[in-house]
């Protein structure tokens, strides 16, 4: 094996994750190769450096905290369930009633003439005829004749 291939497997070699044959081959190589030996020492130093213990004190009430968390979550699920029940039972019929109510009011307004009726809309549309936009219509064209007819009506 070449140095490059050996060095790729040095981490696994330190971790004892290689098979006996391969580990033996690397050991023999390391005995004769100072370059790979240096790399092994460097890796071991890194291992030692990053080997820091976690300063986390034990929590004697951890199980209780987990149980409380479970209870809280169950309660939240229960509340969501209740909300869904209210939505299903009340919100949809309530929306229908409100919709009907608004529809009735609008219908009444239209029948009393408070909202613009269809004839009023026609009058409004005719106002557009007087706008400048039609001034450039060539004489004798279909649009010109239509405008002339409308003017006669007025």
């Amino acid at each position: 094996m070449k140095c490059k291939s050996i060095q790729k497997r040095l981490s696994a070699y330190i971790d004892g994750e290689l098979g006996e044959d391969l580990a033996g081959e690397i050991s023999r190589h390391l005995e004769t190769c100072p370059y790979c030996g240096k790399e092994l020492a460097r890796l071991r130093q890194l291992y030692g450096f990053i080997d820091i213990d976690v300063s986390m004190t034990d929590d004697p009430h951890f199980v209780t905290r987990v149980r409380a968390g479970l209870q809280k979550r169950d309660q939240a699920h229960l509340n969501v369930g209740k909300l869904e029940w209210w939505i299903g039972r009340l919100l949809i019929p309530a929306t229908l009633v409100v919709g009907l109510f608004i529809g009735t009011i609008i219908g009444k307004q239209v029948s009393r003439g408070l909202l613009p009726s269809s004839s009023a809309n026609f009058e409004m549309s005719r106002d557009y005829i007087d706008r400048d936009v039609f001034s450039a219509v060539p004489s004798g064209s279909l649009v010109d004749n239509f405008l002339a007819l409308n003017k006669k009506d007025e």
């Binding site: 790729k8 981490s11 696994a12 890194l46 450096f49 976690v54 986390m56 951890f62 968390g69 979550r73």
Partner: protein
């Protein structure tokens, strides 16, 4: 009692079996979370959330799988999601006016013994270097170096091949050596 026996008992309705599993793994999960999150309080909260997830997932857990592998998988995914959420929060905080500008006060140098100071500095450097690793490399290093999992176990947790684990650990160490070159 073995893990699989406790899992079976829980699935048959014994709630106490779950408490025993929590007691058995709380330190492992807590420390694992700390390695990912670098904060004791966040690690505790994350550990609590992880056990809650385990509680709800345990009913569907199949007895042919290894409980600890499944637990580590949940831990890794939860912590990585938490880190991603943190990144999103810090990105969003750039756009909010009342962002948290709290800066941790420097350690009182005069009162701290030199050895302790060096240890704190080393700890901070290692934590920063591990946090700077890519998600996949970081997970492999934490599971192997700090959780003591074998390459085979890491392969099962991360659902990758053994050679991929070896490669990730090798790459992670190479990067760590570069990041920590001023200290070693």
């Amino acid at each position: 009692m073995r893990d699989d026996e406790l899992v079976l008992q829980f699935q048959q309705g014994d709630e106490h079996a779950f408490d025993l599993l929590v007691k058995r793994y709380e330190k492992t999960v807590g420390r694992g979370c700390f390695r990912f999150l670098n904060n004791v309080e966040d690690a505790r909260d994350a550990a609590q959330d992880i056990f809650i997830k385990i509680y709800y997932g345990l009913h569907q857990f199949k007895p042919n799988a290894k409980f600890s592998t499944w637990l580590y998988r949940i831990m890794v995914n939860h912590c990585l999601n938490e880190i991603r959420a943190r990144k999103r929060r810090s990105w969003l905080s750039k756009f909010t006016k009342d962002r948290d500008d709290f800066v941790e006060p420097p350690l009182p140098e005069d009162e701290t013994p030199v050895g302790e100071m060096e240890m704190l500095e080393r700890k901070a450097a290692v934590e920063a270097a591990i946090s700077a690793l890519d998600e996949k490399l970081r997970t492999a290093v934490i599971l192997h170096k700090y959780q003591g999992l074998s390459y085979k176990e890491i392969a099962d947790v991360q659902k990758i091949s053994l050679s991929a684990v070896e490669s990730r650990i090798h790459r992670a160490k190479k990067k760590l050596a570069i990041l920590l070159k001023d200290y070693i």
